[in-house]
């Protein structure tokens, strides 16, 4: 017999991008996230899976402080991005969000032209010095969003006129136009058909070369297809976190196993 590499071994060890320690999230009196410790690696796709209401989206939204917009939401514990606590008083959430981009469940392009959708982020962050600069950023982002070829002839058509899958890729392109370091995706394919889903998944796989991608998904197959690391959340706890290959073949925790084999909702 030869020594076969274990399923988890194909993941190269990467630097830690985000490290969360003892994170607690409360919605009013509800304790939504309990004691979550996780280390998210750079240049890796990390998938959060778990049943509805398990807190995976909530935790994702903690990573770029989108939860700040909800008055009753309270976050405790440390979330360290590149050695800096993002919940520190000195951190401006707006600056953070430029660094940690987000793509949402429903494609939500602005009701503006495709060009303006992409250009918006760079404009408000002053990334472009001239119109030519901006044109370049737009083209580069659309190319990286794998949608350039489909829209290059109609950059000034409304972004809302695209198909669902194109809209979502437009949103991804918009998110990467501000040169983020981490890309958070909250069920990015739940509103898409299988072909569009495949295109987005292909895109996610390419994005892995430059970004740290965190994706929340309800589709375990999707998590299995796109991610290198998988975290399973259940009732606000991070139950299991490990290489995707291991999670999907030999999960260590019974709850994980029950969930991925379809024994609990």
């Amino acid at each position: 017999m030869y020594d076969a590499p274990s399923l988890g071994a194909q993941v190269e060890q990467q630097d830690i991008k985000i490290s969360a320690k003892k994170v607690q999230v409360y919605y009013g009196d509800t304790h939504a996230i309990k004691d979550v410790d996780i280390e998210i690696e750079s240049k890796t796709v990390t998938a959060f899976i778990g049943p509805s209401g398990c807190g995976k989206s909530t935790f994702l939204r903690c990573l770029n402080r989108m939860n700040d917009t909800i008055d009753i939401c309270r976050v405790e514990g440390d979330i360290i991005l590149d050695g800096e606590d993002i919940y520190d008083k000195k951190v401006d959430p707006v600056q953070l969000r430029a660094k940690v981009g987000m793509v949402f469940q429903k494609p939500n392009p602005f009701p503006k032209s495709i060009y303006d959708n992409i250009a918006y982020g760079p404009r408000i962050h002053g990334l472009a010095k001239s119109k030519a600069d901006l044109d370049e950023i737009v083209e580069k982002s659309l190319r990286r969003g794998a949608i350039w070829n489909e829209v290059k002839d109609r950059l000034h058509a409304p972004g809302t006129g695209l198909s669902g899958g194109q809209q979502q890729r437009l949103c991804i392109a918009r998110a990467i136009a501000t040169e983020p370091e981490v890309l958070l995706m909250d069920e990015p394919c739940s509103a898409l058909d299988p072909i569009a889903t495949a295109q987005v998944e292909e895109l996610i796989d390419e994005l892995r070369n430059q970004y740290s991608v965190v994706i929340v998904t309800h589709s375990m197959q999707q998590a299995a297809r796109v991610s290198q690391k998988t975290a399973f959340f259940h009732l606000g706890h991070l139950v299991e976190y490990g290489a995707t290959g291991n999670i999907f073949t030999t999960p260590q925790d019974e709850r994980t196993e029950s969930y991925i084999t379809g024994r609990i909702g």
Partner: protein
Amino acid sequence: MNDNHIVSSFDRELEQIQAHIMKMGGLVEEAILDASKSLKNRDEELAEQVRNADKAIDALEELINDECIKLIALRSPAAVDLRVALSVMKISGNLERIGDYAKNMAKRTSVLVHMTPVEGARGALRRMAREVQLMLKDALDAYIQRDVELAHDILARDHDIDQMYNALFREFLTFMMEDPRYITPCMHLHFIAKNTERMGDHVTSIAEQVIYLVTGSMPDDIRPKDDHYKPELHIAD
């Protein structure tokens, strides 16, 4: 862990496949017993029966394979379910091979019936076949009960089979050196012994599948090797 899937038809399909494996296992056990019995009793009719029964085993293997493919395609099983599907496919393959060896034993029996009996060897072969059949039964029990300990026990017992084979090998060698007329029957008997030993290997493989199924990983040291095996006596598979 909750034993039942939310989709109950998934459970039914898994049970169906495993029922087929058990049925197949039963047929194979019977084939081993019958083949060794026909050898011992020089019962050509029984041997013929064993040869015919193999068709049913082959058909079951095909059925199980089809069911597994369908299960994987339609249900996208993960974790333990995936391991069930994979182990079932492998086990059915192993069982089919064991069935083939039993059939081969019966075929050789039909030839041996018309030759001078080799004293002593048939009893030892029967014991060996009996031992393999018991191991198979235990392996199937271990599978049904997801019993890792029993499976490890089977791995250990395969060593005994190897020993029995080595003993028989030396015995046949002696016979053949004593009297060249024994060469043909002894060659047949040797092949039977070798095949029985191979059956043991397949049973071991089944036991390994049980361990994989339960723990998610193959046993670390695959089968204890027989260090006393003399290199010159090692006959290639």
